[in-house]
């Protein structure tokens, strides 16, 4: 953090707009953590742009005292790409949801991630369409009974982290709305990554899909269901840190520590592994066989798209200055009169 800058407070990032989310919505927690970490990030509000699509989460920009664009359903990644290419000095966030990013905007998400544009995507995953009042989403579990699926949904759910890892994301993380400390830390780490950072936030919609993540937030069971990933540390979890994850050939396995099985036998988390093999396995972990991982799955370095765009411009200029009149007058020309 540049100490020459005026010290910013969370309140500096709050806009004057009334917040219109339902009382008790998990979005409030994400908004609060965002306002909390931005002063630590140390970028002034006028150099930040929040871009969103459509959905409950996408109202987010209105509540931030930064520049903001509330765009079209699914299209925030494309808008943000143009914005970042046009002005690479801006810090850009894409705020999206499971319907916005994975259904109508699935294509844009993939292409933003493979290009590795330097911006931060925060996907609020509540496994439901909230703003349209309760239809199943691409992350809803099969058989989910909703307004549009009275006899249960037939669609197999999409795994957001598998999708983005498939597109070669360079920063992949997951956190939970109720776990505010972890959420704040994860958001902060995302902002420190150069390239596209992708954070899935498991978020509760208390109106249309209450308790979707209860097994990961209920204080009685959560520790036995969650694996908090720590770079360089063995994958230990459980209320009493008595469980771990090991790899048997290519199959991950939950084991109870003690006796012959010790921490030495466990997988050690390496978020900077060049290939995402283990990250891909972690993305597939689900209860009850395996704990659901949260934290940073992957963080690797790859050239940013907009940086390369401007490098090409720079090289082209170094090669030949060029001016319009000489381009217009190039090729075969003739004079009359």
């Amino acid at each position: 953090m540049n100490t020459a800058l005026p010290v910013l407070k969370a309140s500096d990032f709050a806009s004057d707009q009334d917040i219109r989310w339902c009382p008790g919505c998990g979005d409030y927690s994400i908004l609060a953590q965002m306002k909390k970490i931005l002063p630590e990030v140390g970028i002034e509000p006028h150099k930040i742009v929040f871009v969103s699509g459509i959905g409950c989460s996408s109202r987010f920009p209105y509540y931030m005292n930064t520049y903001g664009m509330h765009t079209i359903h699914g299209r925030a990644p494309a808008v943000a790409t143009g914005l970042k290419i046009a002005n690479p000095d801006l810090t850009v966030f894409v705020i999206t949801g499971d319907g916005d990013a994975l259904s109508i905007g699935g294509n844009h998400l993939l292409h933003l991630i493979r290009r590795n544009v330097d911006l931060n995507i925060i996907l609020f995953n509540n496994r439901i369409y909230g703003l349209t009042k309760g239809q199943y989403s691409p992350t809803s579990l099969q058989g989910h009974v909703t307004k549009s699926t009275p006899t249960g949904s037939l669609d197999h759910p999409l795994n957001p982290l598998s999708v983005v890892l498939g597109a070669d994301a360079t920063f992949v993380a997951r956190s939970i709305d109720f776990n505010t400390k972890h959420l704040g830390e994860t958001l902060y780490q995302a902002t420190q990554h150069r390239g596209t950072s992708f954070v899935e936030v498991l978020q509760n919609c208390n109106v249309f899909n209450d308790g979707a993540w209860e097994h990961l937030t209920d204080k009685d069971v959560k520790d036995d269901n969650l694996l908090v990933l720590r770079h360089g540390k063995p994958m230990v979890y459980g209320k009493n840190n008595d469980k771990g994850v090991r790899l048997q050939t290519l199959t991950p396995q939950s084991v109870v520590l003690g006796g012959e099985v010790t921490e030495q036998h466990l997988l050690v988390h390496d978020q900077s592994a060049p290939e995402p093999h283990i990250a891909n396995l972690l993305a597939r972990f689900s209860n009850p066989e395996l704990p659901v991982p949260i934290g940073v799955f992957r963080q690797v370095s790859r050239a940013c798209y907009e940086e390369q765009v401007h490098q090409q411009v720079h090289h082209a200029k170094a090669k030949s200055k060029g001016d319009l009149n000489s381009i217009f007058n190039s090729g075969d020309t003739w004079t009359v009169g």
Binding site: V49, A78, A86
Partner: protein, 648 residues
Amino acid sequence: MLEVVRRPTPNTIFHRRLAAMLQTNLGDSSKPVQELKGATVRLAGDSGDGMQLSGMQLTNTSALAGNDIATFPDFPAEIRAPRGTRAGVSGFQVHFSSEEIFTPGDGLDALVCMNPAALVTNLRDLKPNGLLIVNADSFEEKDLKLAKLARNPLEDGTTDGYRLIRVKMTQLTRDSVAETKISVKEADRCKNFFAMGLIFWLYGRDMTPTLRFIEKKFSGALDVATANRLALKAGWNFGETTEAFPTTYQVPAATLPPGHYRSVIGNQTLAYGLMAAAKLSGKKLFLGSYPITPASDVLHELSRYKNLDVLTFQAEDEIAAICSIIGAAFAGQMGVTASSGPGILLKGEGMSLGVMMELPMLIIDIQRGGPSTGLPTKTEQADLLMAIHGRHGECPMPVIAAASPADCFDVAIEAWRVATRLMSPVMILSDGYIANGSEPWKIPDVQAMHPIVIHHPTETPDQKFLPYERDHLLARPWAIPGTEGLMHRVGGLEKEDRTGNVNYEAANHQHMVNTRAQKVSNTNDLVDPPTIFGQRSGDVLVVSWGGTYGACRTAVTQLQASGNSVSHLHLRWVNPLPRELGSMLAGFRKIVIPELNTGQLRQLIQGQLAITAHGINKVEGKPFSISELIAKIQAVVAECDAEVASSL
């Protein structure tokens, strides 16, 4: 330099040296020369025969000879349709003239056919007694079968009434390149240069620019370069030697306005205009685009100019393309997207957001035949109503239409001037005919052009920044991210007047809809009104827009010359329509609106002015011919005469 004269005399040797020095061809055939005002020539052959390349060479050469030119490339959507079939025929028509011309010509004076399929699909356009040059080597049994012909059209009377000249092009080309090491297959690919050489001889064209072109284009394959050069010269020599051509023709230079010229195609001029507009407004040009025929050339052309701060982004789809320029526009750059009908349709939601956010950006529609995939390589004007109305809600946007390839340059600049002054997306309409057609372009001096002045607020006013406060033209301020104290949010939800806050109140929505509409109609305060060509009152006023300008202007000029009371009004801005339109139309008994659609401008004008207009409408994937316009306009003039007579 150019071995065109069979038996050089001391005099011709002198001339030849002089010509080499002056880089012009002597063009002194030993045969009689007949002077023509102009000629229309079409080269037709297989998609792989190089007809488009040959056509461009003839175009360029004619332009350099000082002729006015207009071209009409016509090719199939398939890259290489099966060889020798009718579906695979590709044609390129060039009209060159010593007088000012606006169209690629009606009937053909000369038609070159490389195979039977090209002959049967093109012969109907050749004028009676027109020159028909065929590659006689490609009328074998198998060629006829590929063209689905039971009999040889050269033998069955099909070519009666034309001056048929059979040239064994395949054999002659092979013979001419024999000294090189290239294969027979490669030798056969030089045929188009042989045909070009023959046409160049016939119309006294200079081979130098094409020889230069060959040198540059095939610099990596010297044998191929040599072979093409030999084939070109062999074609010329064939014309000079054969007794089939008793005369050669000459088309003197046209009297264009003084200036420095080059030949351009519409998409290229459009790209140049966009670059000039960016420069004049001090903006970086950001083109977000997705490949589509016939708009891709704008992307190709602009992607070459990174050294001029031109940023091109090939997006993952049409939607992402327009969304990326919305992002670029918010960042304060010049966002442009170019597509054709199917892509423009997908951009509808993006354009609506652009209208709601009130950000300047350009959306270019290079129209092609529709609906759906339709006729991707053919021209049509059927997107007009989509351009004006094709969005949800009350979503007006200024729409400007280019009239010709050279006009694309001015249109791009004018569109950006209006977009930035009004803070609105602006749509530019072009079409396949303009996009791929050529004409001479008087090269402007960018330094001497009026700058496009854009003001971005930078100071933090004492009071809160109001992103939707408006000036007298109803434009809102363009505050860009990075500016301290002006943080604001834009979005698709209805805005409260002045503050830009989300607002769903009834009166506010009514006010905002009215305001956005009035703002678009204020375009008329920024642009020159159109003018009537001819008398301001009379029997018939022909009203046109877009790429039919040339055909309409030529038809009206000819009708006026033969004493008809006909005038012409060409609309540059089709939305909003000019304020004076009603009074302009009121001076005429009949209004005639020719369009390459089923009557879209007619519907608009009839609806807005509550008048009745006559339509001349065609959707055949090709431009109007002048003769068909003259005949149809004349029929309306005759109706006027009859009405006057019956009222007496």
